[in-house]
Symmetry: C2
Subunit: 341 residues, 2 copies
């Protein structure tokens, strides 16, 4: 199999970032390190055997952070502390979200709380959040303080997004605007941070930082909307999550809210299903998915994801970027929209 | 009531730190801010009425951090970001520990998870940890990077201590050394950080930092050992915790482990009680407390707390300190050992 230039560069990024991630984990006590490395897919739950490669995350935030340093004409190494910090923050939030949402499976394996217990999962998340700050604060750059503040602001947005997500589950009057704002906080904020944090460390000028941040935010929205679509229509074998999981948990994801807020009979029926006190059975779940589609929730979300992707690419147009960096960013953005996992 | 000079200075410290803490909370989304401020005792669970003063923490870490800046001849304001950071880290750990331990009451009120639910409590803790790093990183000092690293290292110790605490509950071969090491991580590390972090921001010389850190560590041990004693023999009305709570949860606290590892018949009986699969009734809990005392666990812990207190005071002897700062540190240390809440 021949790798395309972008794929080669992504592989190269992982070769840079992975040792730094592992070195960060080595600062932790043995038990917490084991749970964190299991979550990150570095090893199995006994801490001894290398996990299957399918258990690893995509490392998307690492790749964006390193590319952002290169966008500012710096060598990729400059972006590595930003890459590690963003990857750790992402995984901190996954660890705690899995506890909060009660999700038992991620990347084809039991989640950390399901495997090691809730206390270990809470502590593992705490450890990754703290390590993220530590590693970023140690970066060899005069712009470290700006980077640390940007990361802090991003974590607050992540928390606000997750808090809104939980609050929405108890409400049935969530507007599409609130729902999009939740997605912006929960997902797009960290992508915006990732796509600019390496450039911050590299001392990029404000125009470039603004462009990269905007790129990351729009692409992050496209990514979350695609995720929401996969949460209903994704193939469980590919996503590693149970089929129709978002509907089962009655998540107010974007396609659902777009459907619920459409003035259609399908929306009314969907609302009734979502209001039922008891768990929905398989037939009802399938019916709910079909109603989201009939009420136009699927179509709106597909279109909006495409609009966000286009806006992301457009954000980069006015700035001067090395050609391979521009190509890589565009290709990655396209993959995020087109993905099936 | 006339306040002593130390008490006046402590009140003055709170007047400096409190607005900075409140300003930090203002950065959070409304729901998370409400839960955090409830936990900190700034308001009731509806977020509108001032909570009773008894619901506030002692602000011990704030006071130490501000004093440490003054120990380095800096004005108290220099220590404020360190005070806020340490206070936030302390409260992050309380929020998550309450979830992990299933504790339903703290400072005479329902804990955050008991009042708002586990998801809100997890997110509130995450928010405080992240804010701590943010506030410290924004401090106006050329030594910020050293301070941020020290805080990161401390959080890792906190996590290691809490992880050990949990692991110990499943083991019945915990040594006294392991138990003391757990207490050092869980409590003394953050006191050591608090008692030196303001001085770090103030650019204190290494000898002073070492002395303040050692003071904080020893006094922190005395504090934890006193806490362990109160967890068994404390008055619930004063501590705000249920009577005999540590024995009920079969915590491997220092007095318990000191008792279990003593070669006495009382230790054997205590071990049998701790091994019972069912919850202990009130009579059995009272018996367990009595056995800890008979096996020498109470006496050893009292003596060790006094030794740690003395070592803390001794650590400050070789360094030059402003007289009021030395007086305040000694008085606070004494109060921590002598407290009943």
């Amino acid at each position: 199999m021949t790798l395309l230039p972008t794929e080669l560069r992504i592989a190269e990024t992982h070769r840079l970032v992975e040792p730094a991630l592992l070195a960060a984990l080595d600062r932790l006590d043995a038990g917490t390190r084991r749970a964190c490395g299991y979550h990150l897919g570095f090893w199995d739950s006994d801490g001894q055997f290398p996990a299957e490669p399918t258990t690893r995350g995509k490392g998307l935030r690492s790749v964006l952070a390193v590319l952002s340093a290169q966008a500012a004409q710096a060598p990729p190494e400059v972006g590595v502390p930003a890459a590690v910090a963003c990857e750790l923050v992402h995984n901190f939030s996954l660890l705690h979200d899995d506890v909060i949402d009660g999700d038992t499976e991620r990347r084809h394996r039991p989640t950390v709380w399901a495997r090691f217990g809730v206390p270990d999962a809470i502590l593992a998340g705490d450890a990754l959040l703290s390590l993220a700050n530590e590693i970023l604060a140690e970066a060899d750059s005069v712009h470290v303080h700006v980077a640390v503040r940007r990361l802090g602001e991003t974590v607050r947005q992540l928390i606000a997004g997750q808090a809104a997500d939980i609050a929405f589950e108890k409400r049935d009057d969530v507007t599409l605007e609130e729902c999009m704002s939740m997605a912006a906080d929960k997902t797009a904020a960290l992508l915006a941070c990732s796509a600019s944090l390496g450039a911050v460390l590299a001392g990029a000028p404000p125009t470039l930082l603004t462009a990269l941040t905007s790129f990351g935010r729009h692409v992050g929205m496209a990514f979350q909307l695609t995720d929401d679509l996969l949460g209903i229509w994704g193939d469980p074998v590919r996503t590693g999550k149970p089929v129709l999981s978002d509907l089962r948990a009655r998540k107010k994801s974007v396609p659902v809210v777009a459907a619920l807020t459409a003035p259609t009979m399908a929306a009314d029926e969907l609302r009734d299903l979502y209001r039922r006190p008891d768990p929905l059975d398989e037939a009802e779940l399938a019916r709910a998915a079909s109603l989201v589609e009939q009420a136009g929730g699927r179509g709106w979300t597909e279109d909006e994801a495409d609009r966000q992707l286009a806006a992301g690419i457009r954000a980069l147009a006015p700035v001067d970027l090395p050609d391979p960096v521009r190509d890589d960013l565009a290709r990655i953005a396209g993959q995020l929209r087109g993905r099936s996992t």
